[in-house]
Amino acid sequence: MFAYAVRRIIATIPVMGIVALFVFSLLYIAPGDPAAIIAGDQATPADVERIRASLGLDRPFLVRFLEWLWNVLNGDMGVSIFTNLPVRHMIAQRIEPTLSLMVLTLTFAISFAVPMGVVAAWKQGAWIDRLVMVVAVMGFSVPVFVVGYILAYTFALQLDWFPVQGYTPLSQGIGPWINNLALPAIALGSAFIALLARITRATMLEVLSQDYVRTAKAKGVDQKSILFVHGLKNAAVPIVTIIGLGFAGLIGGAVVTESVFAIPGVGRLVVDAILRRDYPVIQGVVLMFSFVYVIVNLCVDLLYTVFDPRIRY
C-alpha cells in the first residue's frame, strides 16, 4: 500500500502541470486587465498602458508561463499584482479559516447525516424516515447563502447568540473559534448533510437486505450491532467516497459561505483575486486547491482498505 501511495503522489505532478497550464491559459484568454484596476477610474489610457508594461503583462504568453512555472517549481508562487505580498504568504494568512470551516463542517455533517441515514433506513417508511427525507430535500433545495442569511438573521441579529461575521483564530481559544464558525458550518453543511443522509440511507437499505444481516438477526444479535457493526461498516465504502467527493463541493460552497459571513479564507481570496484579475493569486490558489483535492482522493482510496479488507493495492 505504501508503494501505491507513493506512486499516486508522484502521479499528482503531471496532473498539477496540466492544471497549471489550463489555469494560466484560461486567465490569458479571459477579458479584464489588472493594470486598469490598479490605475483606477480617473487614470488615462496612457497611464494604464504604462502600468501594464511595468507589470510585465505586455510580454508574450509563453515567456510569462515559463517564467511562472519555473518560479513555482522553485517554490515561489509569485507576488500579488496589487498588494506586492507573496502569494504564499497570502494563502498562509487565509488557510486556517478555510481549513477550520471545512473541518467543522465535515465533523458537523458526518455526525448528523450518518446517524440520520442509518435511522431512516432502519425505520424505512415510518415517520422518522419521511422526516429525514424532507430535511434532505430541503437541504438540497435551499442555496447555501439563503441558509446563511436566515441563520445570521435569527441567531446573530435577533437572538445575539453568535456574531454576524468574522473569524477568531483557534489560538485565541476554542470557544470564540466555534462561536464564529458555528453558523457558517451549519450553513455550509446543510446541503452536505442532505446528500450524505440520503446516500447512507440508500446504502444501508441495500446492506440491511443482505443474507448475512438476516442471519445475524436470526442468531439474536442486538439491533445496535446489526446497524453499526454489520450494516454501517459494510456500507462505509460508498459513504466515504461521497465524503471525498463532497470535499470538492465544500470548497465551492466555502467561497459563498466565506463571503456571507465575512470569513477571511482562501475562498474569498480567490473571488477577490478573480474580480481584480490578480493572476498570480488566482493561479496559486487554484493550484493549491487541486493539490488538496488530489490528496483527499488518495486518502479516500486508502481508507477503502480499512473498511473493506478485500481491497488491496
Binding site: 477579458p31 477610474d41 498588494t83 484579475r277
Partner: protein, 525 residues
Amino acid sequence: MKRRDMMLGSGAMLAMPAVARAQGSRVLKFVPQANLSSMDAVAGTQYVVRNAALMVWDTLYGVNAKLEPQPQMCEGHEVTPDFKTWTFKLRPGLVFHDGGKVTTRDVIASLERWMVRDTMGQMIKGRLDALEAIDDRTFRFRLNKPFSKMLFALGKNNAPVALIMPERIAKTDPFKLIGEYVGSGPMRFNAAEWVPGSKAIFEKFADYSVRPEAGEWLSGGKRMYFDRIEWHIPSDAATAGAALQNGEVDWWETPLPDLVPLLKRNRNISVDISDPLGNIGSLRFNHLQPPFNDVRARRAVMMALSQTDYMQAVVGDNPDLWRESASFFTPGTAAYSDAGGEVLKGKRDYEGAKKLLAEAGLLGAKVTLIVAMDVAITKAEGEVTADLLKKIGFDVDFVATDWGTVGARRAKKDPPGQGGWNIFHTWHAGADCINPAPYTALDAGGDKAWFGWPKSEAVQQGILQWYDAPDLAAEKAAMAAINKASFDNVTYGPTGFFQMYQAWRTNISGVVKAPFPVFWGVQKT
C-alpha cells in the same frame, strides 16, 4: 461531569466574545466603500486607496470644507507677484513613522513622483525650471510660466494626492506600486496584520506633529482619539449592515440605499449624507467609432436622456439623495455653471431624437453598450440607457459583464465588433468635478483624453483659460465656457447628481460630511 454542566460550560465559552465586544472604545471598526487592495494613492486613483493613504501620509497643504488649501506640513509660503516662484517652508519636528526626519529631499522626491501622474502635477512639470532644496526645511519651485493654482495642487484631495513619503520610497517608478508604507500622517499602517480583502489595520502614530488649529477635512489639527482603526471588509452589503446593527462594526462608509430604511429604524444607528459634494453619473460615448463619432447621434441621446430615470434607478425614490443637474460640474460649488445645459431640461424629446438620427442616417444603428453588472450604480445606469437607446431607434447590443472587463475593454479603440465598445457607464466624485483640474473625464484632447477620446478645441481652450484665471470671476467665466462647449460637443452624458449615505453607531461622535472619511476628531464612548 454531568451533561448539563458541560452544556453550561460550553455556553459560557461561547458567550466570551460578547464580553469582549464591550471593550475597546480606543478601537474604531470601520467598513470602507471597497476592498483595500493596494496602498499607493499616487500610482493608483482608486478612492478607497486614497482614503486609507490620507491617514498614513500627510500633505504639504490640505483643503478645508470650503475646498480652500491651508498649510498642513508647511509652515507657510512666499510667492512672487508673477506666480512664477513659490517658496515653501516645512514645519519643524515632522517625522516619518520609521523615526526619520522629514526633509526637503523627501518632499522633492515625492513631488517629482506625483508630478508624473497627476494632471495638475503635469501642468506644473510643464512649466518647471527647477524644484530645489534651499535647506532641510525650505524648498522652491521656479517656473517659466505663471501658475496661480499651486496651493490647490499641493493640497487637493483627489487622487493622485501629493503625499509626502521618505525619499527611498518616493524614488519608486510612478507606474509601479510602492511596497513600503511609511508616512508621516497621524496613523501608521500595520502591514503585518493586513489581510487584503478582509481587514486593514492602522495604529496611532505617537510622534505625529498635530497642528494647533481645529481639524477640518484635510486641514488643521488631525487629532486621533483611537489607538487603532480597523477596516473590516465584508464582501457582502447585507453582512455589513447586519454587523453594524449587531455592534460588530462602528461605522459604514457607504451603505446600499436599499438597506438604509432598515438602518434608520435602528435607534442605535445614525444615518446621514456622507459626501456633500456627491457624485455625477456618466454615460460615456466612444467618439471614435460609429454611430457616436457623429455628434448628431450623441445629441440625439441627450435630447431623450432623462436624469430622473437614471437617478431613481441608481438611488431610489428618496428625493434627498439626488437632483437633476444640467451641468458637468458639481452643484453648489463656487464656480458652478449650467451654461449650455438646456438640452437636459424640460420634457424629453424622443421624437426629436429619432428625427435627428434619421437625418444623420443612423436610425437602427447598432450600439454596443458594455455594462458592469457587479457594480450597482453602473448596472442601474446601463439598464436605463438600454431602454433609452431602444426608444429612440438604436439596435442595442447589451454586453453584461463585470467591472474588471469594462476596465480593460474601454481602453480599446477598435470597432465594437472587434472588442471595442460604444457606451459604458461610470460616475465621477463631485469633489473631482468642482473645476477642470482634477477632472480627467472632462478633457477633450482627442487621442490623449480619457476613455471615449472626445475632441473639442473649445473645451480645451476653456480649460487653459481656467488655469490662467487670476480670480473667482475669471474662473466662473472659464467654467461657463467649458460647460457650454462640453454640451455642444457632448463630451459625455451627465446622468444626474446623486449622494450616498453613511451610517454609524450612536456611540460614535464627530463624524463629518466629506468626500472621504475623516477619522480625526471622531470619538467613541
